[in-house]
Symmetry: C2
Subunit: 201 residues, 2 copies
Amino acid sequence: MKPPVQFWFDFSSPYSYIASEWIEALAARHGRTVQWQAILLGVTFQAAELRSPVSYPIKREYSLRDFARSARFEGVPFRQPEPFPIPTQNAARVFWWLADTRGMDAAAAWARAGLRAFFTRSVALDDAAALKRLAAESGLDADEAERVWNNPAWKDRLKRANEAAVATGVFGAPFFVVDGEPFWGNDRKAQIERWLAQGPF
Amino acid sequence: MKPPVQFWFDFSSPYSYIASEWIEALAARHGRTVQWQAILLGVTFQAAELRSPVSYPIKREYSLRDFARSARFEGVPFRQPEPFPIPTQNAARVFWWLADTRGMDAAAAWARAGLRAFFTRSVALDDAAALKRLAAESGLDADEAERVWNNPAWKDRLKRANEAAVATGVFGAPFFVVDGEPFWGNDRKAQIERWLAQGPF
């Protein structure tokens, strides 16, 4: 059994959203599963002394254009959310709760639901009521989800996921590791595909 | 006649080097020419409040790996130069002198010669003797090239090119504009290709 493709994402990262729409099919075509990992980009930016591209005025204008164009290029529906970016720790804590108690498929389904909700319908993942509605729509118990994101144990679980990401060298999202090889960005799709098809190049 | 593909590069930018090896053929396949434009990345970084990716320790390690891997992905020979990055104003001034006095083909040939020399043979483009040797190898008069890069008129020509790039929104390299649409990075090759083939998407 080949090792899974490791995939780090932030619920507020447009390129993570686009990648989340192709990574499962790409991995499956090459006999791999995907190990999804929700993180907070702010933590990895801080560890690497980086900032979001949209925090630089000139780069921001290009980036907003490139988010939408890159989504169209991949055939992924996209509407720039506003406000953007948003804090995503509550959605990420629910992710880790699902991953640890119900398995990767349930966690990945929540990840896709959250990313699609934010990037196609501007659902405010940082708003408790909106996030509870999304949890209910996703077949979860909304009150249980809220207890999860307020629970110190799941707060700590996300904290450890962020620390593990930083220790792995993750400094942005989406970030992938395949057979130990790091790939950063939605735009490394073709390189990941070649690696999965033929191994190191 | 369709407008040319505008292509901004810095002689010390690895992704510019990789792109310089595919942009002419890609444009030609779609009936376009390429308008090469040498700039100093340091100037555009400063204008956009950005820094080189290799100035961030964690990102640096990944970037060095990605430079070499991205070159292999495109089938382009590459050897990481050391020291890196280097000041490239002298090579860029010779570029603009050639562009203005002998035309785009002569300037592009010099650009390719300089990029290949730095990224496959570590030729120190910031060393006067090494740059004069490269000029001679490239069929130029080495002493004339040296007079060019010390000439205030050609210094000013490069300065104006940098200012024009900043005014256009260029904040990194390689940077492309096709029919008014901006594309940043060697990794936007596939998007540029689609645009050239089918227009806006």
